[in-house]
């Protein structure tokens, strides 16, 4: 994919993040006011409230979406900052490879955890 396309994708990812991360933040950080998807007593990040959300397929799907889009947007943004230094081609290539490995690795870890947590919450694991 050429650089202009990737950059447009970076912008589009920003818009998707505005919506999905906005929802995540409204639940986790404005919980004291919003009480969204956190029916149990305590904070939105209590174990019971976490398990409540993990049980819903909607959250498993939105976590994986958020994970992928945020990793792409953040790491591609970081790559842009590094490339502003006008590095040698070999260094640029090495940076791309390292960021790709980090991004794909964390995407795999996070996806596995989100899916496993969904299964465990359904199986009735108590916090």
């Amino acid at each position: 994919m050429n650089r202009t396309r990737l950059w447009i994708l970076h912008m589009a990812a920003g818009v998707v993040l505005f919506l999905v991360l906005g929802m995540h933040m409204a639940i986790m950080h404005l919980g004291g006011v919003s009480h969204l998807f956190a029916p149990y007593a305590g904070t939105a990040d209590s174990i019971q409230n976490s398990l409540f959300r993990d049980r819903m397929p909607f959250f498993t799907v939105s976590y994986v979406l958020l994970l992928g889009v945020a990793l792409f947007h953040g790491l591609y943004g970081f790559r842009t900052i590094l490339f502003e230094l006008t590095l040698k081609r070999a260094a640029e290539r090495a940076i791309t490879v390292v960021l790709l490995v980090v991004g794909l690795g964390l995407f795999a870890l996070g996806t596995w955890a989100a899916v496993a947590a969904h299964g465990m919450a359904l199986a009735g694991v108590k916090g």
Binding site: F18, L21, V33, D45, G110
Partner: protein
């Protein structure tokens, strides 16, 4: 024919902070970069920390390592960084699409800059970010 060297006009590290005209937008840009990098660092750690819950390890609750006032404060700062980065980022996308930058005009002296045309959008977005930061603080206090 002279051959263009792509490294001849490189600014290096100075290009990150210096260079260009310093206006309100320049500070907005520096803060956008700092907040972007800060939430990226948080995201990378956040993925690992929250993945531990599959092992039944919830570091952020009860007597968990991350359930201390210092980390709670840090989390609030991450929220504030998000509020700024999201509002300013949306402004950048809108400006990129040509929204709120005005119509192109003939370059006749005294030259006008489109920065003055799009400044209300910047001010509006900063206002929105401030409201979110205040809401976050309120939710933190009563939560």
């Amino acid at each position: 024919m002279t051959v263009l060297d792509r490294r001849s006009n490189r600014l290096g590290v100075w290009g990150w902070l210096g260079g260009g005209r310093w206006g309100m937008e320049r500070y907005a840009y520096i803060l956008h970069r700092i907040t972007g990098l800060a939430i990226l660092l948080y995201l990378l750690l956040h993925i690992v920390v929250t993945s531990f819950r599959v092992e039944g390890i919830y570091l952020w609750t009860g007597n968990g390592f991350l359930h201390s006032p210092v980390f709670e404060m840090g989390e609030y700062l991450v929220f504030a960084a998000f509020a700024y980065h999201a509002c300013n980022g949306l402004r950048l996308v809108l400006v990129e699409l040509g929204v709120a930058v005005g119509k192109p005009t003939e370059p006749v002296f005294p030259y006008k800059t489109s920065l003055n045309v799009q400044r209300p959008l910047l001010i509006g977005m900063m206002f929105l970010a401030l409201i979110l930061v205040a809401m976050g603080a309120y939710a933190e206090l009563i939560g």
